[in-house]
Amino acid sequence: MRYFDHAATTPPYDEVTRTIAEVMALHYGNPSSLHRLGEESGKLLRRAREVCAGALGVLPGEIVFTSGATESNNMAIKGAALQYVNRGKHLITTVTEHPSVYECCRQLEQWGWEVTFLPVNKEGKVSVEQVDEAIRKDTVLVSVMHVNNETGSVQPVAEIGSLLKEKYPRVLFHVDGVQGFGKIELPIKESGIDLYSLSAHKLRGPKGIGLLYVRDGVTLQPLLAGGGQEEGRRPGTENIPYAVGMSKAIRLAKEGAPERAVHLRLLKDKLIRGIATLPELELNSALEETHGAPHIVHFSYPGMKSEAFLHMLEEEGFLVSTRSACSSKRAEPSRILLAMGKSPEAAAAGIRISLGEEHTEKDIADLLEALNKCVRRVRNLKGER
């Protein structure tokens, strides 16, 4: 069985699982305890924070540990909306955001905020001009993801960030960095980003932990009330083993980024060229470097139920996804693909293949052979009918 669903989650590094097991067994102390065991845990937490901050190029005090990117996104958006309500009640985001941003904004709408959902072009991108036009006097926050989890589209976040910093310095900028980190370089401090979400399990770390970068000077209303951990920003006893495991995963993701991008790009090119030879498949990912992340290939198989095609591939030994894992239990056409102007038929028949650094050219060749086989099988079925 070969795993091609890295945008859903990634196989953790062996050294990360080992680290977590060791820390969990040895350092069960609560960092808030005053005795030595607690103090050691506090030390581990500090180190973990420093390592994460180092990989992101930010200050340790700007890192808040969370339960994952869903919490980070909620914390960033709701926390800013509530904190800066006296500046206004208007938010801007895009129609292709991850549900943890999209639904969070919908919820705020129900609570009396106004949200502008910017449309995207056929490559799935928004433009800086669109953002510029949407900004109003009462805009508090702009939230734009770095890389789309379904199609791999890359948003011009650095450009949006500099627009905001130069023209609208009071408007906060949140970036969901989950799919971009370790694949596409994004210097946080130089890109005008105030809030940045990450999840460990997309970077070969553990599930159940993530972080939010909160630029020094930005205050967020905490979503939870409790014992004051994370400087009151996110109370709850800290998850020491996962924090340490995440710091290792993030460090490795950062250190290997340039080679990983080159390797993934090579595999992606090969895969896309192969898929292009099958007339039944409509590619939704572009080959050009500027249009897509190096690890996500997305195509539609119009007329074919995507779940059926997924299971055919599974029979051949390949695990892929029909759309973003968070939405794949629903049978409707993809919101993202519809927003990119795809027909409802194509939007309901999407297949996402996402790559990891451990894949080889041989893996891609085998995957292409399986794709070919499955397409031929469908052809035969249709021919018989």
Binding site: R36, L37, E39, E40
Partner: protein, 434 residues
């Protein structure tokens, strides 16, 4: 300096790529035959701070140090070298070959894209050090200034109050162009004025006193008194962190951790509640003096500031100070708290100092400590304490000494109660986990 000007200079730093940093010595240049020793000490300090930047090359010249960058980041390196004592200022330099046309094009690049929306008073200040260069200093001001003014219409010549002064030093090996002058720590190079022991408490004042002493050319070793279990281990961690901050300015510092529990207990046993601080401070000075003798230090440094607390009134200083024969240096004695706090923030110790952990002094603090102790009474109480002298010797003998370096974890031998208990994990943090 006006805000606009600062912004302009900030921008300049990011736009020009610099080849070298120029470090200037201050008052030490007047110190006659000692100069060479002082410059060597500063040079060693510079070299130790340059370890993370292996491409750099250091050249020492009369009154100056040059650091060739070879691609290392100018901003980062100068931020780090700013802390070298004895260096008064730093200028990032662009180097060009000493040929007129090269100098002019380098100067144009240096000025870069000056914003044209307002006039910036400007001046060229050329100096021909290499006398075989065909044009004189005055001539060069004109020859370099003309093309720059043409290239950057935002500049306006003002030789009296320039906002942007481009210095051009023509030397045989190359011409140096610079304008920015970043103020540095000043003072005397590290250790050139001998060694002293710093009483480091964990409060706001003592780290600042230590930094001030180091800036004056003193090498310091820190002495901290702990009374575990009456004080928490976190207080000790905090002192280690504070020493680590100080070590950034020195490359490394020694930290002596003195077990003070027994002495404190027997002093408390005298029942002289309002005198206990006086008694404790005197014992601390005795211990610090013994450690000074052992380590070749000739003075004690404290964070005392006159009148700040009961033990820092003049009568208290008098009675406490008599416990040692060494000179007691109090760099902050005439400083206001505000001044001390702003210095603590600048040197990076403030945020650590305000962490709320019980340290030695805060536990046995009586309700009304004396501000006017009587020396005779104090001496009588001490004479009545039979074991005090031995206790002081024991404390010195059991002192744990750590070497603290800026970027290294402090490794300590685990105390027995952890390794023998069932707390399997404590004390073992594996660097491979991160």
């Amino acid at each position: 300096m006006c805000t606009a000007c600062k912004e302009f200079k900030g921008r300049e730093m990011t736009m020009t790529s610099y080849d070298m940093l120029l470090l200037r010595f201050g008052e030490i240049t007047i110190k006659g035959k000692n100069r060479s020793r002082f410059e060597k000490a500063a040079l060693a300090h510079v070299k130790s701070l340059l370890k993370p930047y292996p491409a750099t090359k250091v050249i020492r010249e009369y009154g100056r140090i040059y650091v060739e960058l070879h691609g290392e980041p100018a901003r980062e390196v100068s931020e780090s070298l700013k802390h070298v004592f004895g260096i008064t200022s730093i200028s990032p330099v662009k180097v060009s070959p000493s040929r007129l046309e090269d100098i002019i094009s380098a100067a144009k690049e240096f000025v870069g894209s000056v914003p044209a929306d307002r006039h910036i008073p400007f001046k060229v200040n050329a100096r021909r050090v290499w006398k075989e260069f065909p044009y004189g200093s005055q001539e060069m001001n004109r020859l370099v200034g003309g093309p720059i003014l043409q290239a950057a219409p935002g500049l306006k010549v003002d030789v009296h109050h320039p906002e942007l002064e481009l210095r051009v030093e023509i030397r045989e090996q190359g011409t140096y162009l610079y304008s920015e002058v970043i103020p540095a720590a000043g003072g005397f190079p590290l250790g050139t004025n001998g060694k002293a022991m710093l009483l480091l408490s964990g409060g706001i004042d003592s780290p600042v006193a230590g930094w001030s002493a180091m800036r004056r050319g003193l090498e310091i070793e820190c002495v901290h008194f702990h009374s575990y279990p009456f004080t928490s281990k976190k207080a000790e961690e905090k002192v280690i962190e504070l020493a680590k901050v100080l070590s950034r300015y020195a490359g490394q510092v020694k930290l002596h951790l003195v077990p003070f529990t027994e002495i404190q207990t027997s002093l408390a046993g005298t029942g002289q509640d309002n005198l206990i601080i006086t008694l404790m401070r005197r014992s601390m000075l005795r211990i610090a003096s013994l450690l000074a003798e052992k380590n070749g230090a000739l003075a004690l440094v404290t964070g005392d500031s006159l009148g700040q607390v009961a033990s820092q009134t003049l009568p208290s200083m008098n009675v406490i100070g008599r416990a040692t024969e060494l000179p007691l240096l109090r760099p902050l004695v005439m400083s206001d708290k505000d001044e001390i706090i702003s210095l603590a923030k600048r040197i990076g110790t403030f945020d650590l100092s305000i962490l709320p952990y019980e340290d030695c002094c805060t536990l046995f603090v009586p309700k009304s400590p004396t501000t006017n102790p009587n020396l005779r009474i104090i001496e009588k109480i001490e004479a009545g304490l039979n074991g005090l002298a031995e206790q002081i010797e024991t404390a010195v003998r059991d002192t744990e000494t750590l070497i603290i370096k800026p970027h290294e974890e402090v490794v300590r031998s685990s105390p027995d109660d952890i390794s023998s208990g069932n707390m399997a994990g404590a004390g073992t943090i594996d660097n491979n986990w991160f």
